[in-house]
């Protein structure tokens, strides 16, 4: 009975985590293809909600990592952990880009716009380079004999 309950909890959390990851992906796409281009096109910053979304979803991912019952999701699908990590990092980079644009576009000035856009592009490149380097040095490897 205990095992059935544990499995039920794990699979329920797995479904919930799946929804969270779908939301993370959708948010990243919205930031990259809607919010950021909208700010650049209009020249005005709006409400920047990227970090709020990232913080909320990070809480769920953090709980998944700490609680053993929830962590079993990563053992059931070994690809899930690197997928989650990459998705959250991408969301963080998009949220940071939106934040930089929001700060730079808070004053209407064409020169400030150019500097802000350049800073954003440089930040994205550097962050993705750091991410790639990190996973090159410390790849996430799951071996079946780890269980």
């Amino acid at each position: 009975m205990g095992k059935i309950l544990k499995n039920f909890i794990t699979f329920s959390w797995l479904l919930f985590l799946g929804l969270v990851l779908v939301l993370a992906g959708f948010s990243t796409l919205m930031l990259v293809f809607h919010d950021i281009p909208g700010m650049i096109r209009t020249g005005f910053a709006g409400t920047t909600a990227g970090f709020s979304i990232f913080g909320t979803l990070s809480f769920v991912v953090m709980i998944t990592g700490f609680v053993p019952l929830f962590r079993r999701c990563y053992y059931i699908f070994p690809w899930l952990y690197p997928f989650t990590t990459m998705l959250m990092i991408n969301l963080f980079i998009a949220a940071l880009a939106e934040f930089i644009l929001g700060q730079g576009f808070s004053v209407t000035d064409s020169q400030r716009y150019e500097i802000t856009i350049c800073l954003m592009i440089i930040m994205v490149i550097i962050c993705r380079f750091i991410m790639s380097l990190y996973f090159k040095i410390r790849p996430i490897v799951y071996q079946r004999d780890d269980r």
């Binding site: 409400t47 953090m62 996430i140 490897v141 799951y142 079946r144």
Partner: protein, 231 residues
């Protein structure tokens, strides 16, 4: 993502097979700290516990590199959340809504001499459109401090301040945290609504000469004029 697959389901110890598989995997994580015993695991299920105590087997699965990696990631996310909470509480410009009786009175009268600059009255913009204001004062100062902020939601409202026909900087986004300007104590101070982020451009101005806050609103492209008259 690398994964080692096992073909054998034999219950005999296969430590040698594990070593062979490890050599084939060029991108394997460091395995120096991994401790093998006579027990092997097939698809996550323990098949042979005869030579190892159940506690030892639990310790091994608890301390494996993949689990450690997951926990490290969880700690990183926790650190990020704590940094975010610190930023929200200390650095963020967003303020909490004031529901005190003085705030309620200011919301109705659109003027206050008791509320502090930077007071937020609404959680959302209320589409309020005010008008021009004539301010009579007895201050003998030539210049005074003008504070401008958004007393509702930070939704991307932009205004520009023009003092006696001279723009004081470019249009800027008003937030809950006041922005300060130095303006003359006589003449016309215009607040031009440059961009409406939604729900109308709601702003508040506080004049230091009479210590009074005016909660106003303007449509995009229009302006409110504050005529300052020294008595």
């Amino acid at each position: 993502m690398n994964e080692i697959k096992k073909d054998s389901t034999d219950k005999q110890p296969i430590q040698g097979d594990l070593l062979q598989n490890r050599e084939l995997n060029q991108n394997a994580a460091p395995t120096e700290n991994r401790q093998y015993n006579n027990t092997y695991y097939n698809s996550g299920f323990v098949n042979n516990l005869e030579n190892t105590s159940e506690k030892q087997s639990r310790d091994i699965s608890y301390n494996n590199s993949f689990t450690k990696r997951i926990k490290q990631g969880a700690w990183v996310f926790l650190a990020i959340i704590l940094v975010g909470l610190f930023y929200t509480s200390n650095i963020s410009t967003s303020a909490k809504v004031d529901n005190s009786p003085a705030a309620q009175e200011a919301l109705e009268s659109h003027i206050s001499t008791t509320l502090a600059p930077g007071t937020r009255l609404l959680s959302k913009d209320g589409n309020y459109v005010g008008g021009d204001v004539v301010i009579n004062h007895s201050s003998e100062q030539q210049e005074t401090n003008l504070l401008v902020w958004d007393y509702a939601a930070e939704d991307g409202d932009y205004v520009q301040i023009i003092a006696n026909g001279t723009p004081l900087g470019e249009p800027f986004m008003i937030k809950n945290k006041p922005v300060s300007f130095t303006v003359p104590t006589t003449g016309d101070i215009q607040v031009v609504g440059t961009h409406d982020g939604g729900g109308g451009i709601t702003y508040a101005v506080h004049y230091g000469m009479n210590n009074t806050t005016y909660f106003n609103g303007v449509n995009q492209g229009e302006n409110n004029t504050y005529t300052l008259i020294r008595e």
